[in-house]
Symmetry: C2
Subunit: 241 residues, 2 copies
Amino acid sequence: MTIADPQLTQLNSPPAQAGEDRAMTIRDHLRDAIVDRRLAPGTKLSEAEVGTLFDVSRTVVRAALQALAFEGLVKSERNRGAFVANPSPEEARQVFDSRRLIEPGIARAAAGRLSPSDIATFRTQLIEESRLLAERGALARRAEIRASGDFHLLLASIAGNVILHRFMEELVARSSLVIALYGNSGASSCGHNEHADILAALEAGDGERAAQLLVTHINHIEADLDLRQNTGLPLREALSR
Amino acid sequence: MTIADPQLTQLNSPPAQAGEDRAMTIRDHLRDAIVDRRLAPGTKLSEAEVGTLFDVSRTVVRAALQALAFEGLVKSERNRGAFVANPSPEEARQVFDSRRLIEPGIARAAAGRLSPSDIATFRTQLIEESRLLAERGALARRAEIRASGDFHLLLASIAGNVILHRFMEELVARSSLVIALYGNSGASSCGHNEHADILAALEAGDGERAAQLLVTHINHIEADLDLRQNTGLPLREALSR
DNA sequence: GGTCGCAATATTGCATACAATCTGGGCGAG
DNA sequence: CTCGCCCAGATTGTATGCAATATTGCGACC
């Protein structure tokens, strides 16, 4: 699989980026592509190729890839290169275990800090989710997964702890990857909108209830996955791509 | 402050490191130096200087510094360089808030997975802590802070979730930095050994009690800090170094 | 015919060179 | 004497070149 994806080159085209950090820009574009599954797990991210696509040297690409490796979205092997992460079922479970541990606390913190403007932002977010839910097509599914993640990130940003927010960024990104990998296309993203219920609890100032709804929500997301043990012998993973 | 610390150059001397990753080696040495407060917060980490000390090019130094920036131990400013992090009281609070959220869950998970060999490792760890606690001198204090952190990391590794373990590595490292910055030399590191109590609860299989003791323990650590608001106007931080 | 070994190729690891940007001091005008 | 501008030095950002390592295809030997 080549990564000569028109969407990538297109996003690259605005070279008028100010003196900003180009490595971080490339990191963001690659992350979007990974989370959207435009880049399949296991895909090799050649430094030279990525550099050509974004019209930068390998130096900058390496910085971007290192950043993604820290987030767990890319696996870097010495003298072999960087590959889009291919999380095992075990890793997937750990992602959701981590979220079940962290997100309730975030919900409780957010409940006590919710401002009217936050609520407005949430409402806009929920409308966007509904719109995407109704839409058909793989492209809408991608956007839906992403929007669903944004809800959780919004919650984390309201909680006001930048460390936890960053942890959640990583967990949400990895969740998207896992969902894309193991999600049953079937009952994807729960019939009735659990996000709305969570927001309702937050508005009522009931952080405890919001926390509980959040755990249930995470359970539903994980339950929709097919994490049966293809108890991957390491060589199997090679066959998978 | 220059970083020409003999302990750094000494650690550098074994250049016989196999084909391993030199950037990660440098990162580890720098992290140790930061956590031990051999490198004071705000100290500039010049790429050229670090490179000279470790006898590598700026390329690998940059990789190491980027890694530390991800962990929050180093703050990197574009076109200005990298500096040892100087966490504000607010950041310090967030570190401990995060620990209060995450560590109880880790304790519960660890309680159900504790093996006899784990217990033995814990005992060795506690003995080492006691030894350092009795010892005098700044050097012992450093080692004690570090050993105290190792206890928590050991707990996290037993919990068996590598993602949470990595989060804890970051939180413990930042905690050490915060303690070094804001710790009252006075009642430092609690009179009676709370770690031992936590271990006892774990051995008894009482994860809930271990979790509660852990929260109390974290509260004690934070209570020993002096986080009074020098409500840092950003310009103040410049004055501090 | 199959397997092992070796060489050619490609890719990463690292160092260095050059360009861009920031910092600090000196000089001149007000 | 003070304020502001400008230039020189220093430091980071980026590109490129070379060395080291892994991969792949071919050929020889069993």
